[in-house]
Structure formats: structure tokens, C-alpha cells
Subunit: 189 residues, 2 copies
Amino acid sequence: MARVGLTTDRLVRAGAELADEVGFEHVTVSELARRFDVKVASLYSHVKNSQDLKTRIALFALEELADLSADAVAGRAGKDALTAYADVYRDYALTHPGRAAATRLRLDPETAAASAGVRHSQMMRAILRGYDLPESDRTHAVRLLGSTFHGYASLEGAGGFSHSSPDSEESWRRILDALDTLLRNWPTR
Amino acid sequence: MARVGLTTDRLVRAGAELADEVGFEHVTVSELARRFDVKVASLYSHVKNSQDLKTRIALFALEELADLSADAVAGRAGKDALTAYADVYRDYALTHPGRAAATRLRLDPETAAASAGVRHSQMMRAILRGYDLPESDRTHAVRLLGSTFHGYASLEGAGGFSHSSPDSEESWRRILDALDTLLRNWPTR
DNA sequence: TAGTTTGCCTAAAAGCTTTAGGCAAACGCA
DNA sequence: TGCGTTTGCCTAAAGCTTTTAGGCAAACTA
């Protein structure tokens, strides 16, 4: 009965890798147990249940992505900051599709409020400081950016843009140009 | 052994309703059988398997939404057409969250190509005729609109904008204004 | 009305989730 | 070092979902 050394943290990290391999929706307690060569019931000491595991993977991914973004955005402003943030987002979604899908998991309000999701909004708000938006419009702009990045990564990940020209990379660049233009010509009421 | 009169079509419609009630990811062949007061195995004459059921629900929702959109867009142009299309999209997502989630299901390329998804792209292309975009940029713009609508509906459905001001309705209107502005000032290379 | 089709059934196997209770490894302290 | 406690992983078991195979009777079809 050698002990493998399970911890919640190790399970969550392995769960994130599993998600990238098989898709977040196919992450299963059983499969995770198999990977640790351990009986399923053993995981239940470290994780409340399947939902809990998925939530933890989502929180982990949000955090990891926030760290990467913060790094990329540091020292940049304006369009430079916008594209740095956006590119990190998209790259993350491409290299870690399962984790990216996890960041789209519906979290209950308290969990969401305590998540790295708020760091993401704060970063977007900070990026908007490089543009001349009235304070009252910042939230709208944050929501627009969030929706677009989210949506693009999601559609691209679902294969929506593959095998059709022009290629996705080009659309992405043009969309970032467009969003930059938009923020510099933001329509006020 | 009274016959209930199952058909693939009835199953798909009931599946769509079920999705709206419990969430698309919780749609299950078992639950559907329960609702028809029929044994689970009976459904397998009408539907290949669970994945097949979900795919059919997705195709149904895409079709239904395309019909609604076509109706809304008919006879409109420019911003009028843009907002009509977008509003139908968002309303659908709010009133039919499960079906809307279904439209985000990853379809394999052939299935996607034969789906009403292509009607959606065509409608967006048609809407863009009201704006003065170079032909070569239309695809980029379609992808931007698709991403933004998709992303907004997804985040709003996940509760991302609820319980925080300004309310979602206002952001949505402002985002449509912004997209309209953007399309009228589309940055070319 | 007889024959055929087919819709729904029973049976059963296999996989995932979750809880309860047990044994032994690892830790903490004298 | 040895003893007691903690705790990590195990076995067992129940309940649910998926999926396949084979059967009977209801509903078309001639």
C-alpha cells in the first residue's frame, strides 16, 4: 500500500493536463485516479466531488492565465498592452484548450468573486487607461473586450475558423486592430 | 405496451426543452426517457447515442435561431439589421439558455458545413453589405461579430454580468453602438 | 385477415460517482 | 527508539447512465 502522495494541488494540476488532452468536459474522477494508479475512492479525501474538482481546475486556470497576462501587460500601454493581453489569452486557449474551456465554467457568484476573474477585469480596466474613455463607459468596454476574446477563443477552439481562408491568425490581428480603432473612437451618447 | 409515438424529431424537441431547463450539459438519454415515461433502451431506436442526441439538439437550435434571425433581419439594413440580428441572438440565449449552449457544441467539420451555421455566416455577410467594407475584410468582420455575440451571450448566460452595475441591457446597447461605429470606421491596412 | 414491419420492452454488461468503514504507513512525542 | 495518533489509500457496495442484444405485440400492408 505504498502512498502515492496525493494532494488537492497535484490532483488539480493533473486534472488541468487531463483537460487539455481529452477536453474539459471529459475530465473524470475515475480517469484521474487511473493516472495516479490509485483507486477512485482515494481521490475523495482530497476533492469533495466531481464538480468540486472541475471548479478547482477552473480556478487554477484563471489564476495561471492571470499571472501570464499580468506579466505580458507589465510595462506596456495602449494598443501594445491590449494586444499583449489578448495574445496571451489566445495563446493560452490554443496551447491549453482544456484549461481555457475550464475558465468558461459557470461559477457561483461567491466563488467567482473570490477568483482570479476579478484580476482579469482589473487588467482590462488598466489597459483602458491608455484610451480616452469616460469612466462610465469603461465597464461596457471591458465587457466588449471580454466577450470578444472569450468568443473568439471559444469559436476558434471549436474549429470554427479552421480550414477556411483567410486564416485565423490574420483575422485575429485584424480584429485587434479594429478593437484598438474602436477604443480610440469610442462613441459616447 | 401502449406506444407513445416516439420519433427522432419529438426526442430532439423535448431534448431542447430539457436543455433549457437543466442546462445542455445535463441533458441525458435517461432523463429524456423518463419524461416520455418510456424505458431508456427505447430511445436508441431513434437516436444513435447520447452524442448523436446532443448533436441533433445543436442542429435544431441553430436552425431555429437562423429562422428567427432571418425573419428579424428581413427588410432591414445597416445598423437596423445589425441590431435586429444581434437582439434575436441575445434574446434567444436568454430565453433558451440550453439551446444557446447547444449552438456552441463542437461539431465535426462535415456536420458543421451542413448545418444552419452557414446561414448565420451568410446573414452576417448580408448585414455587412450595409457597411462599406472591402470584400477581403468581410470575413474578418463576420468573425468579430460572431465572436462578440457568442462571447457576450455565453458570459451573460454564465452570470458574468449579473448583480453588477451597469446592467447588462445597457452594456449590450452600448456594445452594439460601438460595433456599428467600428464597422463604419473599419480600419484597412 | 395473414404477414410483415417496427416500436417499446426486458435483460445485462460496463463505466462513473459517491459513501462507509478498515488497515497500515507516516508522523509526533516521550 | 518505541508508542499512540493521524491520515492516506484500500475494499465494498449502492445507485445512476450508457449501450447492445434479443423478444413480443401493436400497427401497417396487402
